[in-house]
Symmetry: C2
Subunit: 194 residues, 2 copies
């Protein structure tokens, strides 16, 4: 296996994991390598998915779901508002959809950005035990709601992910607004300016 | 056009509309026919999408989105938990995804079943002006929240849709529970029984 117990946990290794389809990860990554990955490493994979989305012209938000016991990735994805003309596919919804019909109570979700109301509600309705949030600087608010619903929430900010999101926000403010509140909110903002 | 101003609004016509891909509807339906469709007719299309899902072995919930002015269908779909191994694709999420990046404040969503927390939150975050609910007998609760957020909510029950959902609930109680609360809730229920 390319990534095994003797391999270094490098940015190149994490990027390869981010881009490899989830079902094909076992051809790239040995269990022994997965076991070495820290929470910060897994958050970095979420950020590298956000970077993939930005490279495609999309919103830079990514997410990774791991099995709590094996620490293997069971789902991952990124925002596809632009790429798929998809009005609500955030990092979390993409990763959950990728994982399929599994028991999410045995998993942890790493998201590069604080979850929106829809994603936070989905996280509780699918019974996640733990969520790790990589950016509460650019957005925040649902961490408290998740904790009140019994989800363990850890904030583990990734400076690379925060910088990427801040750059997106300043370059594409309308795209960011649409991603949070839809086309009608963008129209209302533009009408106000006229 | 097969369906025009002179055509009867029959179950066969509504079923053809339910099954025809949204982008191809203009080859089947003339504007003059769309204008004749009542809210009850559009709800029946949502129910016929629910029937399509049931015929595929899935959860019988469908949804239709129309442009408020033209009354043309701009998005539609049905639950695909089983069909696509999709852990959260309800009727509403399917129809919204089908519509793409449009201004939902100019549209009405018809759903054959009262929306869950995730779908209700998505409806508010995408700025829908109106929602029509076809079954508050089998489930309900988010109608009040939607109204408080400024969404017009009309209840227009379709007996055919209610009967279909009730049959599903009695035949596939675990599938129904998974669709609402995920695999972990099903495991908890089964563990209780042992």
């Amino acid at each position: 296996m390319l990534l095994n117990a003797n391999s270094t946990v490098s940015e190149a290794a994490l990027r390869a994991m981010a881009h490899m389809p989830t079902r094909s990860l076992p051809v790239l990554v040995d269990n022994s390598f997965s076991q070495k990955l820290t929470d910060a490493d897994l958050m970095r994979i979420a950020v590298l998915l956000a970077q993939k989305s930005a490279d495609e012209g999309g919103c830079p938000i990514g997410a990774v779901i791991i099995d709590n016991e094996t620490r293997q990735i069971v789902g991952k994805g990124h925002n596809t508002l632009v790429q798929d003309n998809h009005p609500y596919n955030h990092g979390e919804t993409a990763a959950i959809r990728d994982a399929g019909r599994i028991d999410f109570s045995q998993t942890t979700l790493f998201t590069s950005l604080s979850p929106c109301d829809v994603c936070a509600t989905l996280i509780t309705m699918r019974g996640f035990s733990r969520v790790v949030v990589g950016d509460v600087t650019s957005a925040s608010g649902n961490e408290t709601m998740l904790q009140e619903k019994g989800v363990t929430v850890d904030v583990l900010e990734d400076p690379q992910g925060i910088a990427l999101y801040q750059q997106f926000r300043s370059e594409y403010p309308e795209q960011e607004l649409e991603d949070w509140q839809g086309v009608s909110a963008v129209k209302a903002r533009l009408a106000k300016r006229e």
